[in-house]
Symmetry: C2
Amino acid sequence: MPANVPPDRAAPIGVFDSGVGGLSVLKQLLRLMPQEEYIYLGDSARVPYGSKSPATVRLFAQQCAHFLLERGVKLIVVACNTASALALEAVQAMTDAPVIGVIQPAAQAALQVTRNGRIGVIGTRATVTSDAYARQIRALAPVHPGRNGRSGDPVRVLSQACPLFVPVVEEGWTEHPATRLIAQEYLAPVQEAGVDTLVLGCTHYPLLKPLLQELLPGIRLVDCGEHAAVQARAILAQRGALAQATGRNGNPGRARFFVTDEPATFESVAQRFLGFPVAPVERVVIDHWFPEEAPGV
Amino acid sequence: MPANVPPDRAAPIGVFDSGVGGLSVLKQLLRLMPQEEYIYLGDSARVPYGSKSPATVRLFAQQCAHFLLERGVKLIVVACNTASALALEAVQAMTDAPVIGVIQPAAQAALQVTRNGRIGVIGTRATVTSDAYARQIRALAPVHPGRNGRSGDPVRVLSQACPLFVPVVEEGWTEHPATRLIAQEYLAPVQEAGVDTLVLGCTHYPLLKPLLQELLPGIRLVDCGEHAAVQARAILAQRGALAQATGRNGNPGRARFFVTDEPATFESVAQRFLGFPVAPVERVVIDHWFPEEAPGV
């Protein structure tokens, strides 16, 4: 490491998700900041988070964050909508390093994109039940900022849980007729609500973009990973903590991968998300550590 | 408790599964042995097991069994095909109490039912990859026992992973057109192989019976839970360990329910499996305990 690079510049960025989904966020981070080093953790032994309770998601997310913090990351990206919805504050409370989720950046982007002030959000059951997107959108802009003379109307948010989207993506059925039927059923209320913008509020959903765009012509799709990456870069730039142009070892865009289940399954699905092989992937145990406030039962 | 009932007669039967699926096995146990008491554990914080590695499934199953053994169960039913396929021996090694899985009873039943010696098995990715059904079937009868003059032919087993069946059942889409398309695709190789018997090698699948039977006219469906219950009763009878006619407190068919995530989600799906409400359901922590041989990493 050159002597003139402060430690926090050379430190890696930590990214975690319940499994492979967060790789769609990592992909955007690598695209935007290829000079950085990354540590990616997928909690594949306990995936998915999207069907589980807030308390359980919070505990699992804290265990993921603890693993990353022990490795000296300079910023954490919670690359999972469910964990961002339910555990962002709990993770932020663990560290002085910046911790960003995928919800706030996507909510902001949706508000910039919408012309009629009606925004749809699709996500897991847990994300939708948490109402995190709607709350975030309303907090950022209680009323539509007013293009096309519609100023002052309240922003409307229609949220729809799509529990089968993650399994069909993991099965690789992104173009299958069954997936089309499933999508038609889930998206009917979104269409009826007249939204002009749809937030893909789950890191698996970008793989369904072609199908979703075909079923929803004219509706703008917002990919949460893209906007989280932009926010991550802005925060690091503001802190003077962006890595040097070529990274610690001169290898641009280096990423190390860790999972809590055996690597094989992760590796086979990961390439679909990232577009290149992720090996080597290392297995780690993270459930031995408990936060102090964790419930005994 | 009457003084003339030995403790092991009055002890409960332990049943565990990764989540709600094992309730279809509990339902059969309650039907066959309504005088018994049951403790049901669903590992809903880490569900599903079917997409995870053998080592992880083994650890989780041992933690479930440890919970049940601490509560003095007289028999354990591993009411999950994935755990039966990958962890039955590991659980058996933990106790002198009998431990039965769902695979051996279903394999035996399939051999009794088949007339042409061609048996299909559908299950999760982990169950099918383990090849446990095929091995069990071949161990019980390497050649077809020979009805209709076909004696001596080797028994043929065609196994097919159906990863989307669990999510569609949990979504309640047992009759949905998308489910029909999914089933048609998964079952095509089964039909082409000319099987006359199909083992439903996952405890979620009995809820798809009407659809599967419609798509596979003339093929006999084998429900693993039914045959596991018969085997459980036979083992307890042989040991003189069946409960008295009315159970410890005179309440026939009493069951207590424990889960590792919050009870609400479990309760809402459980009624579909069991046909009656399961409340009260208690949340417990089981991942603090580790078997001695558990890997450090």
